[in-house]
């Protein structure tokens, strides 16, 4: 085999409170597709950001074409020939293909731009790459796949020798994926090294010359093409000997009455026929990879987003939910995964946030808010949930993540919702506070609340959920009772579901 064009040795990177990467290795050869896999949060993106100069590494060495290099900035990475194509595209939709590719490097004639020269250069480039695109077309008129081609063309216009693609197919249709894969084959043939980040097993089988697995920021191992075996890869991704942790004591609640019955929930863009039941006192886990449709399901239930079909029954009656206010009135509360953006008024104090969802019950007949009553409730919740705050007048922005989450929970407890949908309830929360949140979830369930927990952390799902629903590609791909569930089984359903049908 040839010398690696890019080699990474012992890279580590920490962020406040988190070790994102710990002694990670990676190498990629010219004309090779290296598929990098790992669960959400395994460190794939952090590693790629280091290679493309967005982050700086804390420790470790990077070799490019055999020489050690320090990649100081994205510009530097581009000069070396390492280019990343991000998940979210950085194109200007009102400019043409050519203008996008050569943005910042426009050919000039004297003080003026030369559109003719620009289009010529771009057309030549596209032809050379065998990309069938009109250089003069506006990018906004192109399909997502074609836009991705523009991104790739742009990357290769820098003479990229290493091309990093971060889940490039997440927004593509099947035919578009084929177009992309054909281009990847061509690039390979011309000697470009490609690092392809994905967690889709079908793509891995199709593209990979080699696969490298990361887990929890650590390097787990690499497999060559002939050694690649999907169950083995999944096992490496989730880790065989991971402590599955404690599981809920009373595991099955399906004999309880059904509180929420969801049937055939669909949305225009993602969800297809999502159906499930939630029982009283049950904690139902929703597992799946990013983009599987878990958050979308929650938002569709409370009609935070429009749906194209499906019914929701609440306590045996069809629930007419047209907007989140209707859901809340029925007693369904949704705690967003994005606490800061969608859950809290950061600039407001604890009291304000605690009573926000139930303000009408704190006002008298002419609409005056009874601050005394509000403060009493806020104080009660602060001590009940053990929210660490100097006072109930503290701006929520100044609380820690765990305590912010507790304020969100307090808001819904004051509203007295019977169904609570927790979306990533412990994201950005440290270990100790996580345990408190888990305990709280179990306590709420024991009190008769019915709870949905959406989580990307499998141990968390197994830790709290009585039953686990797994989603992939907008569909439910499996349902597991806690006793039979394991990280491997969940991962299998989360990565395979869509393709097996």
């Amino acid at each position: 085999m040839t010398e690696p064009i890019l080699k990474v040795e012992g890279i580590s990177k920490s962020f406040p409170g988190v070790k994102a990467l710990d002694n990670v290795h990676l190498e990629v050869h010219p004309g090779e597709v290296l598929v990098l896999v790992g669960e959400n949060g395994a460190g794939k993106s952090s590693l790629m950001k280091i290679l493309s100069g967005i982050y700086t590494k804390d420790a470790g060495r990077i070799f490019f074409e055999g020489k050690e290099v320090e990649i100081a900035s994205p510009l530097h990475a581009q000069h070396l020939g390492v280019t990343i194509i991000h998940q979210e595209m950085n194109l200007m939709s009102d400019l043409t293909v050519a203008q996008n590719i050569y943005i910042g490097r426009e050919p000039m004639i004297g003080p003026f731009l030369s559109e003719a020269k620009l289009n010529k250069t771009a057309s030549d480039l596209l032809e050379r790459l065998n990309i069938n695109l009109n250089a003069k077309q506006h990018v906004g008129e192109l399909t997502v796949a074609k836009q991705q081609m523009v991104e790739i063309a742009k990357a290769l216009s820098f003479n990229a020798k290493v091309l990093i693609m971060d889940e490039p197919t997440s927004a593509l249709t099947d035919t578009e994926v084929e177009v992309l894969f054909t281009l990847i084959e061509q690039l390979k043939a011309s000697g470009t090294a490609i690092i392809y980040i994905s967690h889709r097993m079908d793509e891995l089988k199709r593209l990979a010359d080699r696969v490298t697995v990361l887990r929890d920021g650590s390097y787990i191992g690499s497999l060559n093409k002939d050694e690649i075996d999907i169950p083995k890869v999944i096992e490496m991704m989730v880790g065989r000997h991971i402590d599955e942790g404690t599981r809920p004591a009373i595991r099955d609640k399906t004999s309880n009455e059904t509180v929420l019955r969801v049937r055939g929930l669909s949305t225009k863009s993602l969800l297809r026929d999502v159906s499930f039941d939630l029982h009283r006192g049950e904690i139902l886990g929703f597992a799946g990879l990013m983009g599987a449709g878990r958050t979308e399901t929650a938002r569709a239930i409370i009609k935070a987003d429009p749906t194209t079909g499906g019914t929701v029954e609440y306590e045996g009656k069809v629930a007419r939910i047209k907007q989140p206010a209707d859901a809340v009135r029925l007693g369904i509360g949704y705690l967003s995964e994005d606490r800061k953006l969608l859950g809290l008024m950061l600039e407001q104090d604890v009291t304000f946030n605690t009573i926000l969802a139930s303000l009408p019950t704190f006002t008298d007949s002419i609409g005056i808010v009874r601050d005394g009553k509000a403060k009493t409730i806020a104080r009660d919740k602060v001590s009940e949930l053990r929210i660490k705050t100097p006072s109930i007048g503290q701006m929520v922005k100044l609380l820690s993540g765990g305590n912010q989450q507790k304020v969100v929970i307090a808001k819904w407890l004051v509203r007295d919702c019977d169904v609570l949908i927790f979306d990533e309830p412990t994201r950005g929360i440290d270990v100790g506070a996580k345990e408190e949140i888990y305990a709280l979830l179990q306590l709420l369930a024991a009190e008769g609340k019915s709870i949905i927990v959406i989580s990307s952390e499998l141990p968390e799902i197994l830790r709290v959920a009585n039953r686990v629903i797994v989603m992939a590609g907008g569909r439910i791909t499996g349902e597991l009772h806690n006793e039979e569930a394991s990280q491997e089984k969940i991962m299998h359903l989360a990565t395979h579901g869509g393709g097996d049908e």
Binding site: T246, R247, P248, A249, I302, A304, Q323, P324, A325, A327, V328, R329, G333, Y334, S336, L341, L342, G343, M345, L346, E347, Q348, F352, L356, A357, L359, P360, T363, I366, G367, I368, V369, E384, R386, K388, T389, P390, S391, G393, Q394, M395, L398, S400, G401, G402, N403, K411, R415, I429, D430, G432, A433, E435, E436, Y438, A439, L440, Q442, L443, A446
Partner: protein, 344 residues
């Protein structure tokens, strides 16, 4: 409620210890920061008053002070309503010509139709409310950007004022001689009623913004509209109510200016909206929404009229007044961005 888990023994012991670190001591500092813009505006007002008092002995006399307050009345009332709109993160450009339309309608009701004064006044105020309602519906339900929706309403109100009045002022004298007393009478000796109305309006705005559910949702929508919606608040309906409520202030301003001039002047009004918005901004209300106060707006409106009055007393040409007001706005907003950067 105690935090007892029915889980295994794994991490139970340490959970009490590992609760996230606290950021203490934010309380007092946060409070000072919160008040900073207001204190700044208040300080500016004091300095201006002291400066003009020294510069001209005529400044700190009761007739002049009452003149300043009277001059503050109309802009002040407009500013009070629009404070609500701006705290939601919106803007209302229609309050200037909307005020004119309310004045014209008051004239139509009292002079042309011959309704009793109180009914005409009510009609004028409700005209303002109706415009606010339409703005609210356009913004909340048709999802038009507030700037565009109220810009259109500004033109509509301006046009309607001219059409309805026949491009002629409507005079109240002779038909309703009492009408001018609404603004110029003195229930409290020495203090024009217009000032009294402004004070009452400010008190109402203060209570509604600070103590009622409408005020709470005003802040809530301005802080984070989507989070408010997900909390089960019908944000669209509340936005309509907020714009309608703000519109009532426009209506009151229309009645007050008509009474003060003893006539409805259909050509008037353009530019008032920008002065009112300026007063709100000087008073520390954020154009980004979520933050603001009635007290700040009152001070902001006073600063504007004190500057104008002071310059006039010092016999500085009127042309310079706008220049100075412009500079005051720049300084006020600059300090506001400084404060935002500091807290970010």
């Amino acid at each position: 409620m105690s935090l007892q888990t029915d889980s295994g023994p794994s991490t139970k012991g340490k959970k009490d210890m590992t609760v996230a670190a606290e950021k203490q001591g934010g309380g007092v500092l946060a409070f000072v920061k919160k008040q900073a813009q207001q204190s700044l505006a208040f300080g500016t007002l004091i300095i201006l008053v002291v400066f003009f008092s020294i510069a001209s002995p005529a400044f700190l006399t009761w007739p002049n002070i009452s003149g300043v307050l009277l001059a503050t009345a109309v802009i002040g009332i407009l500013a009070l309503g629009t404070t609500f709109v701006i705290i939601t993160g919106g803007i209302d450009l229609s309050i200037g010509t909307g005020m004119t339309l309310a004045a014209v309608m008051t004239g139509v009701f009292i002079v042309n139709i011959g309704l009793p004064v109180w009914l005409g006044v009510l009609g004028g105020v409700l005209t303002g409310g109706l415009m606010g309602f339409v703005n609210g519906v356009n913004i909340a339900f048709l999802r038009l950007p507030p700037f565009i929706a109220t810009l259109a309403m500004m033109l509509i109100a301006q046009g309607l004022s001219l059409i309805i009045s026949g491009v002629r002022p409507i005079y109240f004298s002779g038909i309703a001689d009492d009408f001018k007393l609404i603004a110029l009478g003195t229930l409290i000796p020495g203090l024009p009623n217009a000032v009294l109305i402004t004070i009452v309006a400010a008190l109402i705005a203060f209570v509604v913004l600070g103590k009622t559910i409408l005020g709470r949702y005003t802040f809530s929508i301005g802080s984070n509209e989507e989070a408010t919606r997900l909390s089960g608040v019908n944000t669209r309906r509340w936005k309509v109510m907020i714009y309608t409520f703000a519109g009532l202030f426009t209506g009151v301003a229309g009645v007050v200016i008509a009474s003060r001039l003893d006539s409805a002047q259909p050509q008037l009004g353009v530019g008032y909206e920008l002065q009112a918005i300026a007063a709100v901004i000087i008073g520390g209300t954020s154009l980004l929404g979520g933050r603001g106060s009635i007290l700040g707006t009152v001070i902001g409106a006073l600063i504007m009229s004190v500057v104008i009055n002071g310059l006039r007393i010092m016999s500085i040409q009127t042309e310079w007044q706008n220049v100075v007001v412009g500079i005051v706005i720049l300084i006020a907003v600059y300090f506001d961005t400084l404060r935002n950067r500091a807290s970010a």
